[in-house]
Structures are given as structure tokens and as C-alpha cells.
Symmetry: D2
Subunit: 216 residues, 4 copies
């Protein structure tokens, strides 16, 4: 389990296949098969990845348990093809929520397509504390709504988008490579890059040749 | 454009195909074609739908512009297969947000799988007003964070999940039928049912035979 | 490995997950988890399947090696969503092909939507032998084209559609259930039903509760 | 309708959207909209395509009627994501089939991954005629099987893989760009390249900016 941000994590639950799965899916075209990875197999994987022959990379699968802030999850879930997901529902769950409280409050970048600068605002500590106060206050107000017998599916409406959510996700190696390539880009938001990096670090040892080829 | 909830809407932008598209996609199996719907074609559509031969219903497409609260959108987006979506991003947009403020505050149902009762809580008006106050306060605090030069991608973290978002969505007739069948179910949350109903009412006149067959 | 038809087979290569995977994907909605299947879990699976809540069934995956006649594979491959496939290519492979030679030559059914009767034609043996002769002759002519230096990608054009092909396929439990439900139907062609049955028999012991619920 | 090979064709049936559809799907992120394409919109499309931001290209759709040889269709259908297809079925149709008869019989290339040389074999005309004879003979034998009351679903087993099939296909602009990029590659088989080129020529005038950006 890799901790991400202040209270999030990514946990690799199960892996289906390895580099050899990719090789043998590709070699079936030639009615051949490898029993063990060799240097020819490595070259094959590199060739497949660099020529966008991605179907062999659809066969391996990975399953994760992930906890991330809702506004990060909303970007993460835009990657739909090749993924299965089931998520905690605040229609049914009314435990005390947790929120992401950043300690580095990044400045706005004047260039709108760039989400933020890498420098913090002047009143960094003060604002970080203020955000925590707002979050705590909202959690108190949420509890209060529940005490007044408000249905959780409505009460959740006041909870902030920095609230953590949790989900189980199964995806193909190909789908994860595409996600990481887009979300490790320096234009991606800092928070989602931390998750993409943690994911990449968990996948790499399981598919060393494929992952190097797909993400370079 | 159909208004939904207090500030949301569904607008049908464009339609691709009609009932005849379904018929001719199916009739290609028999190397046949219809130029105009007749009663045989209607029976064919009913047969296809009732026997789960859904591929002909993948060909027609519809495009919508939709404005809905984030916590509703998060359920809506669980429907991924057969949909394309692009959504407003609060990394780039920092206009004053709008929130869903329910006037009927439904009671919790003791049965957890049922999200709410159809009756309102006792202090209905008071709580509705309190929710509005919380939302307005959060919007003020959000503006204040922006004034302190906080990057919008971080400032959005305090905005509530009842905030409205907007997106453009293209989906196949088959995908919309599946969405509506699940989200018009009485177990679905009241708010998402309003959107599913508005959607269904917009689709029905464009595909009268197919829609009746797919959603019965 | 299960033999199917005269020279085909289905081999289960690898399984990803079990009934508990389905249960825990579903229970994440309630922030719960099971460590071992119990009777509540079984009821949950039945509830999910009967209410078309299929997302938890997307997480488990299975991988097969399959050898089937081309005209059967062409129907099989119509099932695309949730599957990854890599197939032998006769652009690259020019070994002697094998063909499906039916020994029961079913009669035409007068009802066109029914592909065949379950009775054989009168001259059953004679025609079965004739089909084998045609297949063998074509294989000889194919070899002859190769001797004349014709590119395999063109020479294959004379090979019959009853020729066997081989492929590796990864699919989700949900995708296989949908395939089997459609292809075990008595309206499906006899040959594809044999493959669907063999598949179903291989999946059932790995996911006893889910498979029973999804295919009833 | 564009003729392809000796008896095939691609016919563009209907188009859903234009370059502006792509622009407005992308601009929704910034809560903006264009009413008419301008030079900024063109640059946006180029930016999206070159940075692999492909979701806006999922919204436009095209529908085609296509007639191609079975062995070409089998490669074509490997492109599954983003496509809907319905095809003529020889379980139900027993009209006289047509076959692709190449007049240029390309030589085998010694490099196995290259399907053929661009030069013809020595006995080009003779072999082209021989292939036609084999095809005609098979069609006669097929008719004969039907006369003996063999079910069409079995009789089709002797028909050659160069037989033409016909289908209706709906795909997203993004899916067609991916198909064309792979199938216009000089390593792709000559026959499929003809279809990819015809397709590209039909799409280009409908989405001039997007198509240029996606296929360069």
C-alpha cells in the first residue's frame, strides 16, 4: 500500500498476467509461444509499443483499492475505456468523512491552461489552516443534518469536493499506461500526478519490460 | 431545453438516425432494407429489444448539453460504455458557482439500501434555508481564496458536492436506454430520476418505436 | 482443455478473481468487505445479477486459448465489449490448414430465421465426404499457390470459411455471461452452442455463485 | 459511393457533427462555445490531436455501408472500440456469393512480417485466372449443397475467404482516425489499405481540420 497525499492511498490487490502474457498474445499471430522471456521477447514488446499495436497489452489486468479526493477522482474516472470501478456511496454510508487538506497552497498561474504555479501563495500556512477549519465545520454541519433525520443522499450535498472517496478499480495494462502517460504530464494537476506516480511505481515491477516500453 | 431541479437542464443538441436506422442495421443480416417504417419494421424492433439483440440500437446517437449537481453527475458518469463526455473544468473556470438547493428535505429511510423516504423531515423549511446559507457562505469563502491568489484547482476543494456542473454528452440509443432503465427505477435517487425522466421525454419522440420497446 | 467439434478446443489459461471479487466490488459501496463467502454474500450476488447491477461482474477476468472454425469465430467476435483478442494471422503463417468437417449435415429449415433443422439431410454421409474432399482439394491448391510464390496474404483467399483459426481471448465474467446467454439459445447455430457450452462448463466451477446467477 | 477493389465499395450514409462539434466539446471545459470555426478553433483542434486529448473526437460519428472480402473484414473488425456493426449473415442469406479476384498476384516477401512484395509473381495472369476458376467452382458446389437441402449455415463452410461480405458500420471520428492511421501504414495489406484510403477520402471533406490533425 502506497500512501498518497495526506490521507489517501493506492493498494495493489491482484495482478493478472505478466510480460510473457503480452508476448504470447502477440506471438499467437505467428502461431508461436514463449515459455520464458528472452531478449527477442523484449524487443517484440518494444516494437509493439512503439508501433501502437496495443491489443496484446489489453490482456494483462490489475486490480487496485484507491482512496483519493473527489475532485481528483472525477478526473481519474474520465478514463473509462478498459476500466471497471465500484465506489463507496454516500447514499448508504454516513460515517464521518475525511478531507484532503493541502499544506502547500499553490498560486494561480496567469496562463489559464496551466492550473497553478509551483510556488505557494504568501499566506500559505494561514490559508491551509483556514481550509481545514472550513472542512471541519462542514463535517459538523453534515452530522447535524443527519441528526435532524435528513437522508444521507441529500445531506452529502454540503460536503466539500476535497472529501476522500474510496473505490476498487480493475484495468488493463494498456488502459493504465494511457492514464499514466496523460496524468504524469507536467500540465496535469499536482494531486493527480501523485496518484499516477504511485500507480506507475506499483505496476512497473510487475511488468518491467512492457511498462518501460509503454510509458517512455 | 428541459429544466430539471432548481437550476439544471437537459438540452437535446443533435440526433443521429431514427427508428429506420435500427431497422436497416438489423435488416442488413438478411441483405434487405426498408425505405419507410411499416408494421413489420415495428415488430422487428420489438423482437430485437425483447430478445436482447441490442447491436442495431448502437447505431443511432444523441448529443445533449446537461447541467446537473456534481453528486448526481457522479452517478450518471458511472454509465461509461457507449458514451463520450466533455465537462466544464474548475481548474480553468472560476466564475461564481451555482448549487442545488432542495426545497423538499427527504427523511432517511431505516432500510439502508433505500436512500430516502418520500416524506420530508419535520423542520423542512428551516433546513432547506440552512443548506442555502451554507452554500452561499462557501461561495464567499471560495471567492476569498481566489482573492488570496489561490489556484482555482485547489480553491475548488471547499466547494460543495451540490454544486452544478455542465457537460456535453454523446451516447448511443442503446446506452441511453440502459441508463434510463436503471435510473428510472424507484430505488434510484429522486434527483437522478428527474434527469432520467427528462432525457427519456426528449428521446421518445425521436425514436418512438425503439424507445417504447427498449424501456418497457 | 475441452475438445469441441472435430478438431477444435477451448483451454482455460488463467483466472483473475473469484465470487468474492464480485462481492467485495459490490460491498465497497457500503464501505464493507467479506473475507470468505457466506450465505449473505450469495444472496447479494443473486440480487446484483437479477437487478442488472452488472458492474461488480466486470472485475473478474478469464483468459482462454480457443480453436474454432472461421465462420463460428466471426459470430463469436461480434461480442466485442469487454474482450481482448489476438489471433493467428494467415498473412504470416502458411502451415497446412485444418478444416471443420461436420458428420451431421443438418437440413435447411423452411423458417429462414431458424438456421437449420435438427434432422440431417438424406444423403448425409455422401455429402459429409464430399465436403471433406472439397476441403482437401482446396488445401492442395493453396499449397500449389505457395509453390508458385504467391504471397500467403493473397493465397489464403481460396481457403474455405470452415478452416480452423486459433486465438487468445481475455474477457470479463460479465462479458462471458452475456455471450453465453445469447449463444446457448436454441436459435444459435449448433456449432457455436458447442463452444458456448464448453466455455460455460469451464467457467462455472471457478465462479459457482456468480455463474449460476448470471446465466439462469 | 467509392468503388474499392474489383467489386467492393464504401458508401458514406450519414454524418453526425463537424469540426465545430469537436471544438465545442473541448471548449465546454472552459465554459465557452464557438458558433463558427475560426483560426483559434483550428489551432485548438491541432493542439488536442497532437497532445492525445482525444475525448472531443469521440463526439462526431459517421455511418457507412461497406462491401469487402471476408479476410479483409476480419482485420477491419479487430477495431472494435468505438464501432457498431451489423453484417449480412449467410445463415439467412443464400444468394450467389461474389468473390474478390485479384489481377495482381503479389509475390511473397522473404521477410515474414512483410505480407508481400510489390512485384507480381511470374505467372501472374495464369494464377489470377486459376483463382477465379477455383472461386467459380466453389460457388457451383455451394449451390449444389443447397439443392441437396443442406442448411445454408453449414453449406457456407466451403465458400472461400475471398468472398465479399457487406455491413453497416457506425464509428466515432476518433475510432476512424485510429483505424486509418494503422491501416494506411505501408506494412498493412494492400487490400485493406485501399479501403482505409477510400474511407479517409470520404471523411476528410466532412472534418477537414480534425482529419488533417488526427492523421498526420
Amino acid at each position: 500500500m502506497t500512501n498518497v497525499l495526506d490521507k489517501g492511498f493506492i493498494e495493489l490487490l491482484e495482478v493478472f498476467g505478466d510480460d510473457l502474457t503480452v508476448v504470447n498474445a502477440a506471438r499467437v499471430s505467428f502461431a508461436k509461444q514463449s515459455d520464458e522471456m528472452n531478449s527477442k521477447d523484449e524487443k517484440l514488446i518494444e516494437y509493439l509499443a512503439s508501433h501502437h499495436h496495443i491489443t496484446p497489452f489489453f490482456h494483462p489486468q490489475l486490480r487496485f483499492r484507491i482512496k483519493m479526493p473527489i475532485y481528483v477522482a472525477r478526473e481519474w474516472f474520465r478514463h473509462g475505456i478498459g476500466f471497471a470501478r465500484n465506489e463507496v456511496s454516500r447514499r448508504y454510508v454516513d460515517t464521518v468523512p475525511e478531507c484532503y487538506n493541502p499544506t502547500d497552497i499553490r498560486e494561480r498561474d496567469q496562463h489559464v491552461k496551466q492550473g497553478s504555479k509551483c510556488t505557494n501563495i504568501e499566506e500559505n500556512e494561514l490559508v491551509s489552516q483556514r481550509i481545514r477549519d472550513i472542512q471541519n465545520e462542514l463535517i459538523e454541519k453534515y452530522k447535524n443534518l443527519l441528526e435532524l433525520n435528513v437522508a444521507p443522499e441529500l445531506a452529502r450535498g454540503i460536503l466539500p469536493q476535497s472529501m476522500y472517496t474510496e473505490f476498487i478499480e480493475t484495468g488493463s495494462l494498456s488502459a493504465y499506461a494511457r492514464l499514466c502517460n496523460l496524468r504524469l504530464d507536467p500540465h496535469a494537476q499536482y494531486e493527480i500526478r501523485q496518484y499516477a506516480q504511485a500507480l506507475s511505481d506499483l505496476i512497473e515491477p510487475k511488468f518491467p519490460v512492457s511498462w518501460a516500453s509503454l510509458t517512455k
